[in-house]
């Protein structure tokens, strides 16, 4: 294998911000292959498939890959419930999915994962050296927040430095998408249980499939012996 292609299936368009986070995690776990991510954009299909089973089938058809990430926000359910739900849908896909699948289930919604980097928020809001006060939620409270998306939007508005008509016209969703581009290090997210679950699953898959640096040297050692 000379590259690792992964495809991410998400609930909605804005969830594609998970791509840099997933790529970061893969790199953190020493994947020593070029990583080629794809976000499965199914909204452009003439009849966008409804239901996760169909969406997985279409995503694999349109964006062939070696590793599949399936994202569902937990919203009002528990993370375990969502994971079970994804797995049930996966089993319904025919032909059977033969590549590894990792569930990405943030508590409530992914925006919770973008609330920790002040500089990134300010830059994404278009006002990197703004002085407006910005109170980031405490890391341990993030997963219990009711509406992290609204929180993110509010923060972006608050630090944008815009007034009047420009503030009214601010497209928070566009700016929210930019936040992730300004974050180089997602380490603080390791404080969140849902994130840790994702990370350990990625670590497990990467090791099993030998995509990481260590496993390569193992292979080399083995071939060296033979």
């Amino acid at each position: 294998m000379d590259e690792l292609r992964y495809t991410l299936i998400t609930d909605g368009k804005s969830d594609q911000v998970l791509v840099p986070i997933l790529t970061w995690l893969l790199k953190e776990h020493q994947v020593d292959l070029p990583i080629q991510p794809s976000w499965a954009d199914l909204s452009r299909l003439p009849y966008p498939p409804k239901g996760l089973t169909k969406r997985i089938k279409w995503a694999l058809e349109l964006y062939p890959c070696d590793l599949l990430f399936v994202h569902r926000d937990a919203e009002k359910e528990s993370c375990d419930f969502r994971v079970a739900e994804i797995n049930k849908n996966l089993r319904g896909v025919s032909p059977t999915v033969s590549i590894p699948v990792v569930c990405v289930v943030p508590v409530r919604m992914h925006e919770a994962w973008l609330l920790f980097d002040e500089k990134a928020l300010r830059t994404a809001a278009g006002n990197p050296s703004g002085k407006d006060p910005l109170q980031l939620p405490a890391m341990n409270s993030i997963e219990s927040m009711l509406d992290p998306k609204q929180k993110l939007y509010d923060l972006l508005k608050a630090v944008s430095g815009l007034r009047g008509r420009r503030l009214a016209r601010l497209q928070e969703s566009d700016h929210a998408r930019r936040v992730v581009d300004y974050i180089d290090d997602f380490t603080p997210l390791r404080a969140l249980p849902a994130f840790r679950v994702l990370e350990s699953e990625i670590e497990r898959i990467v090791t099993i499939h030998g995509w990481c640096l260590d496993s390569h040297s193992d292979t080399k050692r083995v071939t060296g012996l033979t």
Binding site: Q36, A59, E61, R165, A168
Partner: protein, 506 residues
């Protein structure tokens, strides 16, 4: 004809290996490196024509005044690579003239040219850096291997007419010697199969201000000269309406410039001079037929074309193109639209059997009504050589590469011609960087080369369905800054009456 190009270390082209047929359409998003591919082709062409440094500056920003040649090298962050390599497989013309008008005939017409350049810090006054040639070679590709190297579908009669000759040794080679690299230009007896006698001429590579290929002449190295001629013919056509609108003086060159200049002179020459008459005499029937062909061609784009003609103003000594409408109104070139002029220039190019080589063209769809896009695509494919017929003055060895963003272009070019450019990550010495990668559609000829990847069908969706069904809502300012709210803007496409007219209605 450039049949394959490998580039590494040039701008964002790293490990690129791309094959070309007579007509190629490169599609890709903004900023992925479609134009860098054209720059690489232009750079190679310039290297065959002028000193290394001038070639580098010619592909740098316009005018290249402030540019460091280093900006041509691939870089990650602030780290520049210090080497770039090119390998081109090409079919060259069988005959041609050198700069002194001497005739040359190629020993063999299917060649592989390889060039490796290095960045050299220049402490001189210019301090823009310099280029050093590390390796240059020109070798032949045997007739027996030709079919393996030409993957696109073609008829044997075409191949036999395009690829001819025999050769057993290289034309240019580089050897590492004690004093450093030495580039050798080997003797080449020419097309009459005379054995190339005499010693090769050797030059120290470190001191070469230009490629050895670029100084070839007909007497000593006719094949190398013709390879140079082929490469010089690789051009990026940037048709500028302002250049095309200009009338020509009587003395203007009758070759279409890369900016579309000398359109009137080229058309006038085509119409007035018949190559079948060696003395350049003119025949009225020929003249009428050339103008009629151009008018017919142009009518594929604009409806109101009765005639195309050149007005010869004896007093001011100017040639001006006129397009005459059905009602007899004549429009001078300066009154024609950008799209019409561009189409006209391409139509003239198509008729000019003297125009050989590779034409790169950016976004041919610009200024063309969606309904007329098939017409311009058709014209571009006709400019390219027909690989089902032998090469002749009717079917010159010409090639066209276009790039585009347009769904109407992508959906209507032949499936075999489509190449999709996308950014892909590479990993080299522990460093990750993105470079451009060219993929093809499943089950098309490029796929015969196992190194060419197939494009994921999902990447084509933006071309297939460029308009999203449900655009996200937009903040709509309703006049009062305190009461602005989100609301959907009803787009043209959202109207019920329009929906019914669209193909993919539910």
């Amino acid at each position: 004809m450039l049949t394959r190009l490998k580039v590494s270390g040039f701008k964002n082209l790293v490990g690129v290996d791309i094959r070309f047929g007579p007509f190629t359409c490169v599609a890709g998003a903004n900023g992925v490196g479609k134009s860098n591919l054209f720059d690489a082709i232009r750079f190679l062409s310039a290297l065959a024509d002028r000193p290394l440094i001038d070639a580098a500056l010619s592909v740098r920003d316009e005018g290249g005044r402030t540019a460091d040649v280093r900006s041509l090298f691939h870089r990650v962050g602030d780290d520049y690579e210090d080497k770039m390599s090119f390998e081109a497989e090409m079919i060259i013309p069988q005959q041609g003239l050198d700069d002194l008008g001497q005739k040359a005939k190629a020993t063999i017409t299917f060649l592989r040219y390889k060039l490796i350049l290095r960045y050299r810090v220049d402490h001189g006054l210019r301090s823009l850096g310099n280029l050093e040639l590390l390796e240059e070679s020109l070798t032949h590709i045997n007739l027996g291997e030709a079919s393996k190297n030409l993957l696109f579908d073609h008829k044997l009669i075409w191949r036999k007419s395009a690829i001819q000759g025999r050769r057993t040794s290289e034309f240019i080679s580089t050897k590492e010697e004690e004093t450093g690299g030495v580039v050798k230009l080997h003797q080449d007896g020419g097309g009459d199969n005379k054995k190339g006698g005499g010693r090769p001429s050797s030059r120290s590579s470190a001191n070469l201000p230009r490629t050895v290929l670029s100084v070839a002449n007909a007497a000593e190295s006719p094949t190398v000269l013709l390879a140079k001629r082929e490469m010089q013919s690789w051009k990026l056509l940037q048709l500028e309406p302002s250049s095309m609108r200009k009338p020509d003086e009587f003395t203007a060159p009758f070759k279409l410039g890369t900016d579309g200049s000398h359109l009137p002179a080229t058309l006038y020459h085509l119409a007035r001079f018949d190559e079948s008459h060696a003395n350049g005499s003119l025949t009225d029937t020929k003249e009428a037929s050339v103008y009629a062909q151009i008018a017919n061609r142009l009518s594929e784009l604009v409806e109101d074309v009765q005639k195309v003609s050149i007005d010869r103003d004896e007093r001011r000594e100017l040639l001006t193109i006129y397009v005459i409408g059905r009602d007899g109104t004549s429009h001078p070139a300066r009154a024609l639209s950008d799209g019409t002029l561009r189409f006209l220039a391409l139509a003239v190019l198509d008729l000019d059997s003297e125009a050989h080589g590779l034409i790169c063209l950016e976004e041919p769809e610009n200024g063309i009504h969606p309904e007329r896009i098939p017409a311009i695509l058709n014209l571009l494919q006709e400019i390219a050589t027909d690989v089902n017929l032998p090469i002749s003055s009717d079917n010159p060895l010409r090639q066209v590469i276009i790039n585009t963003h347009s769904p109407s272009v992508v959906l209507q070019v032949p499936e075999d011609s489509l190449v999709v450019a996308e950014l892909k990550e590479s990993l080299k010495k522990g460093k990750r960087f993105k470079g451009v990668c060219f993929s093809c559609l499943d089950d098309t000829w490029r796929g015969k080369d196992e190194n060419t990847s197939s494009v994921a069908k999902g990447r084509l969706l933006a071309y297939l369905n460029p308009v999203l069904k449900n655009e996200p809502e937009v903040t709509h300012d309703i006049g009062n800054i305190h009461s602005s709210k989100k609301q959907k803007i009803k787009r043209v496409v959202d109207r019920e009456d329009i929906k019914q007219l669209r193909l993919e209605f539910e």
